[in-house]
Symmetry: C2
Subunit: 222 residues, 2 copies
Amino acid sequence: MKIKVMDDILRANDAIARDNRNRLDEHGVFTINLMSSPGAGKTTLIEKTLDRLGMRCRVGVIEGDIETSRDAERLEGYGIQVIQLQTGSSCHLDANMVSQALGELDLKKLDLLIIENVGNLVCPAEFKIGEDHKVVVLSVTEGDEKPLKYPLMFRESSLLLINKMDLVEHTNFNIQEARQNALKVNPQLEIIEISCTDDQGLEEWDRWLLNRITVPSDTPTT
Amino acid sequence: MKIKVMDDILRANDAIARDNRNRLDEHGVFTINLMSSPGAGKTTLIEKTLDRLGMRCRVGVIEGDIETSRDAERLEGYGIQVIQLQTGSSCHLDANMVSQALGELDLKKLDLLIIENVGNLVCPAEFKIGEDHKVVVLSVTEGDEKPLKYPLMFRESSLLLINKMDLVEHTNFNIQEARQNALKVNPQLEIIEISCTDDQGLEEWDRWLLNRITVPSDTPTT
């Protein structure tokens, strides 16, 4: 009975996710669903991405948090379109929440939409929200075995960003082990090692995004 | 309708949690529900606790993970009672899962039971499982604003362990800010700063446990 209810919820969610995806495709907005544990560095990565790509394409952000609008406030200075979703008791974003946020955005003026999910390595992976790709951030302080312990997250994602590489020497995180564990659950997973403190790997992240974004040639980027 | 279902699930869960608590009380087993984000250091803290208190009281462990039994395997060498619960698609332990694990433990031979919940700062806080106290671990690499962003976890817990203090100088984590944020959501919360690398704060953690554990005077501790 409990499983039946869950199944219905997921099916209803997926229908709304398809609608979201169609709306975004219609306006040529490349969309990523950015997921991680709490504190893996998602918001700082978004700030870095705005610093680096903000002049080359038009970026919008949807921030998902249980409570507070601190993350959206951090992005206010960038003069971009930002929506804060407060999920209340829900530990993940679902397609309906994102659908409401899309209604508040001017999609014609976006090339890239970054949706920062609630910090949680479990439930967000179960809910499609209309994204082109799921991207998971794993910080080296969390441990190299996480892909085996939270396999759905790594199986659903197209790209793994191994973050806080500047701290790796202070931890017992083994990069080769982490890569092998991640590829064991998802052989197609792309992996980039990054640090938002010393900027390592961020050029590769820029390229990953720019290869997928369509910037209309006749549109000013500001 | 969705809310109604959730409400029923929580009520049914709480009834089983009370049964668990009664069984544990009957045998004088002090029980903690240990929660955190993935990779905050729960299993390493349990290892340290076994090293330090294993001779003074009889400790049992229930390990909750989505998949794998790696955490239980790490504890095998200690010769203690360990049960691994694999939750499958569930992102938290519930009282029924713990009830089944209790059936596999010899409660007469335990003074302290540590239940390591699934790594997740959200859902585990919603489900009572029969514990005397919830204890939340926050590592300094996760950020000092986490109590405001995940308030239920910090509101439900009796004790906050701020972990990985040996790394604090490499981060922008502000201890005073973290303490203030935690006490804002839960003024009764006790807070201990620890590191399982250089052992700081672990004596205070030992004392916190030993003050609450009843070791029968006529029972050998091995």
